[in-house]
């Protein structure tokens, strides 16, 4: 006979179950969230909530006190709805998976050399890519020359996403609106972290130059080896973020401000736009573009691909850094 546990509330299983259900946060004891509104407002808001969670608590309380039946029935109805919701989501998930598995079973086998996807398109990229684009890395040659319009669209996606994040999160320091002033004060969370952390600073001292050089290497060798503008730009961005974390905004603002961000993005995207427009225009009108592809394998080769990679790298690095600072404190 197993021992009866009367401390079910604190058992591991319950805590695990709660965590799976998303009710508790395992880290919650380790972090102290600062309530932004006053307690009274919070209580009012919570009170207004006629939500399932509230009903659940109600249910436990009610069943403990043996309160009248109708309320329990009501709460049970809501709990049943919750169960129904869960069951339905599992069924939907399984339905999608089974339809797609059914499809997969009819698709060609992975890794086959004569699959329909390995047709004349891929063949030309491999056989003539080096001569036509000058890029040793065929994938780079493909995305920045054969299918450059997609890639231009992709940089615009990044650009417009950063604009949207700016709209949402940028807080203007010289704003007259009191609400925004309050938000600026709240979002400044620097004083929760150690200032001038010596370990972090020394590590950053060693790492940042290496990261930056590695990022630049990836960007510049995009047409020769794995890598390219996006991956290199992401590395550069992470280097900037590390530097910021170690030395703080004040030191960073000597190097990188919003003005710098705007100008870099503008110049890089403008160059990208103009260069690609030129090449699209000449291509469609069957004119010679007059851009030499150089000797394959040399760093200064493959026509526009190298400058375009640099542009994409700059845009991505700036955007990553901008995302980070905007998420942290709503400005650069």
């Amino acid at each position: 006979m197993s021992r009866r546990r009367d401390n079910y509330e604190t058992s591991r299983w319950l805590r695990f179950k709660k965590w799976v259900d998303g009710e508790t946060d395992p880290l919650s004891s380790g972090m102290d969230a600062i309530p932004v509104v006053t307690e009274g407002q919070m209580r009012e808001r919570r009170k207004n909530l006629a939500l399932r969670k509230a009903y659940d608590e109600e249910l436990t309380r009610l069943s403990a006190e043996h309160a009248d039946k109708t309320e329990i029935m009501k709460a049970r109805g809501i709990r049943n709805f919750q169960k129904f919701y869960k069951v339905m989501s599992v069924i939907l998930c399984l339905a999608i998976i089974s339809v797609l598995l059914w499809t997969i079973a009819a698709l060609p086998v992975t890794g086959g050399a004569d699959n329909p996807a390995n047709n004349e398109v891929a063949a030309r990229y491999i056989e003539k890519g080096l001569q036509e684009t000058g890029a040793v890395n065929i994938v780079t040659g493909m995305i920045l020359d054969y299918r450059a319009f997609d890639t231009f669209g992709e940089s615009c996606v990044l650009f417009i996403a950063s604009c949207c994040v700016l709209v949402l999160l940028r807080l203007d320091a010289d704003s007259k609106n009191d609400n925004i002033k309050k938000m600026i004060a709240e979002s400044d969370d620097r004083h929760f972290e150690p200032k001038d952390d010596i370990i972090l600073q020394k590590c950053a001292c060693v790492l940042v130059p290496v990261i930056m050089i590695f990022g630049i290497y990836i960007v510049l060798n995009g047409h020769l080896s794995p890598g390219g503008g996006f991956s290199g730009g992401a590395v550069l961005g992470s280097g900037l973020i590390l530097y910021l974390n170690a030395y703080g905004y004040k030191k960073m603002s000597r190097l990188f401000t919003e003005k710098v961000y705007r100008r870099t993005t503008l110049c890089a995207l403008t160059f990208y736009c103009l260069a690609k427009s030129y090449s699209f225009f000449t291509g469609a009108n069957h004119l010679e573009s007059g851009i030499p592809t150089g000797t394959p394998g040399a760093i200064l080769s493959s026509g526009l691909i190298l400058p375009l990679n640099i542009c994409v790298g700059l845009v991505v690095a700036c955007t990553m850094y901008a995302f980070y600072t905007l998420f942290r404190k709503g400005g650069m």
């Binding site: 060609p108 996807a117 036509e132 020359d145 997609d150 992709e154 417009i160 503008l266 573009s289």
Partner: protein
């Protein structure tokens, strides 16, 4: 190659470039640039349209130095030209009509970001219209989605933020399905450009290979784009989104964005999957059922609403249902009617959203029926605009809505199995439309009762942009209603070119 043939490419790049430049301009300059850019791109699209009408054929345009199966391509024809011109006109008038409210709703130093969204929105719409490449279509669908989300949430008041996150979630579901559909299609055809992909699909259909994947591709791409355009069972995001954005954004989102996706869907059906395959796979019947359900349910929801903007938004659900019903009829006529209804709906819905602004101005920014009582006398032009839009939605003769209902009805006669349900649902839906739109129009022109809350001191005269935009929208509606024949002819020719 004649110089005119470059125009589609110029218009896309111009719109993108002005978006990029706007990031360093002040709000006012960005606004002016945006207006000029929209006018110029519309003129360029008109040039393309005239060229295609003169030569009578469509042409592909290489984006780069490499021909069809290798490089990116766009393609221009009559239908693309008509749609691009029309989208340009509606976009211009929507931006013009909402100028003052945009300036009010958006923080001043973020105004240029609003116009970046407008610019990139236009460029992505043009790219969706002209594209001849599936993956380009995916990338620009994403630009369109993000720009749409930006337009909603830039008004950081009220429920627009929660509306934006809902919109984003539903759009991402749609994009995910669309992308997986493209991946499967690439796997079995090996092409991303539409023309070679269509050849492979035709060969596969003839040999009977990969039947199951083809079916799933049709379903997944269809459902993905249907979610994004707000077809009935996936419409939950629509009322919040259209109801709480700034007026320009509401007009653009309801009039253009959902139409861009539908246009893309039609293009994929015709240019990649093959319309005959679609009809034989019964996929059209699914769209048909969703469409007619949407026509009725959207109207029923609209009748329940007390907030007039949400009512107009729910009426969009019904109108999207009309379009999908036209696609689902499975005949050439049905498709013509659907495309014509795309134009009708974007002109009319934009007119309703923009003229409603004038009415709210005259009612102290309240949006419920009671406050709007008598607003038609307080702001006569906006009242007329709203009345014209409502009558057009109901299907009053001489207005565009009448023509599209007529086209739907005649095309229903062509398909024997679907004739009866189509006609019945058309009649029911028209009646329901009349119930809620005419109720609002009557409210607008009834005298205020003494027990109504007094209206605060309001400006009765709207600014000249708003009045100009309303007048132009009314004119567009009349043109579509009275000179519909050449437009219908152009649509039919353009669809034939899709071939």
């Amino acid at each position: 190659m004649s110089f005119v043939q470059n125009f589609p490419f110029f218009s896309i790049i111009l719109a993108m470039f002005s978006g990029i430049i706007s990031s360093v301009l002040s709000g006012k300059k960005a606004r002016n640039l945006s207006l000029v850019m929209i006018a110029v791109t519309t003129a360029l699209s008109a040039g393309t349209l005239l060229f295609c009408l003169r030569t009578g054929e469509s042409y592909p345009y290489m984006m780069g130095h490499f021909p069809a199966p290798w490089g990116n391509e766009i393609r221009a024809g009559i239908l693309e030209g008509v749609t691009a011109v029309f989208f340009g006109v509606v976009m211009f008038l929507a931006v013009l009509g909402g100028l003052d409210h945009t300036a009010e709703d958006v923080e001043e130093n973020k105004l240029n970001l609003f116009y970046i969204m407008i610019d990139l929105m236009l460029s992505s719409l043009l790219a969706l219209v002209y594209t001849n490449d599936l993956f380009t279509a995916y990338v620009f669908v994403e630009i369109n989605t993000i720009a749409g989300c930006g337009l909603i949430m830039i008004r950081q008041k009220g429920r627009s933020m929660s509306a934006a996150i809902r919109y984003m979630i539903m759009s991402q579901l749609g994009s995910g399905l669309f992308l997986i559909g493209l991946s499967i299609l690439y796997d079995i055809t090996g092409h991303l450009l539409m023309s070679p992909a269509k050849e492979s699909v035709a060969a596969l259909a003839a040999s009977g290979a990969y039947r199951i994947p083809m079916l799933v591709i049709m379903a997944v791409v269809g459902v993905g784009l249907a979610i994004k355009s707000g077809l009935y069972p996936f419409h939950y995001w629509i009322p919040d989104t259209y109801g709480y954005a700034t007026p320009t954004a509401s007009a653009v989102l309801s009039g253009l964005v959902s139409k861009g996706y539908i246009f893309l869907l039609i293009k994929i059906f015709y240019r990649v999957l093959g319309y005959d395959n679609l009809v034989s796979s019964q996929m059209v019947n699914v769209l048909y059922v969703f469409g007619i359900t949407g026509m009725v349910m959207g109207s029923l929801h609209a009748i329940h609403e007390t907030d007039t903007r949400r009512m107009t938004a729910y009426s969009s659900v019904a109108q999207i249902g009309y379009i999908y019903m036209g696609i689902g009829l499975g005949t050439q006529y049905g498709m013509v009617a659907a495309v014509f209804h795309i134009f009708t709906h974007s002109a009319t819905k934009a007119l309703l959203f923009i003229s409603a602004v004038g009415l709210y101005e005259a009612s102290g920014d309240k949006k419920d029926y009671v406050s709007l009582r008598g607003a038609g006398y307080r702001n006569p032009l906006a009242g007329i605009g709203f009345t014209v839009g409502s009558l057009s939605m109901v299907g009053f003769p001489m207005l565009s809505g009448f023509i599209s209902k007529l086209l739907f009805a005649t095309s229903a006669l062509e398909s024997p199995h679907k004739m009866l349900p189509t006609l019945i649902v058309l009649a029911v839906s028209t009646t329901l439309n009349a119930v809620y739109f005419l109720r609002l129009v009557i409210t607008l022109y009834s005298r205020r009762r003494p027990e109504d809350a007094p209206i605060p001191e309001v400006k009765v005269r709207s600014s000249w942009h708003l009045r100009l935009a309303i007048l132009c929208f009314i004119a567009v509606n009349l043109v579509l209603g009275m000179w519909s024949q050449p437009i219908v002819q152009a649509i039919a020719d353009g669809l034939a070119m899709f071939g």
